[in-house]
Amino acid sequence: MSPMSEFFAMGGYAIYVWSAWGLTALVMTANLLLPLRQCRKLRIELEQPE
């Protein structure tokens, strides 16, 4: 096995390890991006009052 495919295989635990890490990446990205977007939306509302 090449070092690369060996890395992705995670010694046979690929599903578990990559699911856990993938889920973590997803949750952290959402945690950061959603409030940033909300903050921008609120600021735009303040800058352009109807």
Partner: protein, 265 residues
């Protein structure tokens, strides 16, 4: 004394904390992201496989920081809820409200990654032992405070009710921590604790500690953004916010009032 008092007064006012939170954001976020990258590379690539668990133990580098954060975020929420109950500081209520969803998401992450680790190693996705059950209770406590805020329209009453539930639920945090020592559990005792030398080889321990610190800094980065959003929401009609944004010239993209940071974030 009066200087400290004045400083505290300024720090605890939404108007003054708004730009502070914006200025603090990059100081939390940039180190957090750098450490996340380094820790992930170390944890997934550089650290050796475990002598018993092989590569499956690499889940620890996200599981333990998430679990640690789930408890730390709760303490931030509970303490700020208590401050709001006693001193009625609006900012503390905003902090408590902001911490809850972040904490809930990391509690979910701790449970989910633990489940993904338990299946191959223990042979089960879930057991009702004291550690896992108390962590699940933590998730329900978070969801309870969020639901209470959603259910009560009056902002002050909502903050008090959520603060009280958060405070009462804080009893669960030491229970989670000590559950593995007080009762026989399927979950193993802590690898890293204050009271004894860590039972982990340094090649694995360093990335774990870096990841835990990265998660902590990340929490505060997100907290700053959410606090700013909370202040914007609550102080929408206040004069200082209008002065900051609404009366700015039309070219909003180039003009930054008072050199206010975080605008492009």
């Amino acid at each position: 004394m009066s200087v400290i008092k004045e400083y505290w007064h300024k720090l605890s006012s939404a108007k003054h904390f708004y730009p502070i939170a914006g200025a603090l954001l990059p100081w939390f976020l940039i180190p957090a992201l750098l450490m996340l990258i380094w820790g992930s590379w170390q944890g997934l690539v550089v650290a050796p496989a475990d002598y018993q668990q092989g590569d499956s133990y690499r889940i620890i580098f996200v599981h333990v920081p998430a679990a640690w954060l789930s408890m730390m975020a709760y303490m931030v929420m509970a303490i700020n809820g208590a401050i709001y109950l006693v001193w009625k500081i609006k900012l503390a209520d905003i902090v408590a409200e902001s911490a809850a969803p972040i904490g809930a998401s990391f509690t979910f992450l701790a449970l989910a990654t633990g489940s993904l680790w338990g299946k191959p190693m223990w042979g089960t996705w879930w057991v009702w032992d004291a550690r896992l059950t108390s962590e699940l209770v933590l998730l329900f406590l978070y969801l309870g405070t969020i639901a209470l805020r959603g259910a009560i329209d009056d902002r002050q009453r909502a903050g008090r009710a959520a603060g009280l539930l958060g405070l009462v639920g804080a009893i669960n945090v030491p229970i989670i921590h000590f559950s593995v020592e007080w009762w026989e559990t399927l979950h193993q005792p802590a690898t890293v604790s204050k009271f004894s030398a860590p039972s982990m080889h340094s090649s694995m321990l360093t990335p774990l500690l870096v990841m835990a610190l990265a998660f902590t800094l990340f929490f505060f980065a997100v907290l700053m953004v959410k606090i700013r959003a909370g202040i914007l929401e609550q102080e929408r009609h206040s004069r200082w916010l209008s002065a900051l944004y609404a009366e700015a010239p039309e070219t909003t993209t180039t003009y930054s009032p008072e050199g206010e940071p975080g605008r492009n974030g």
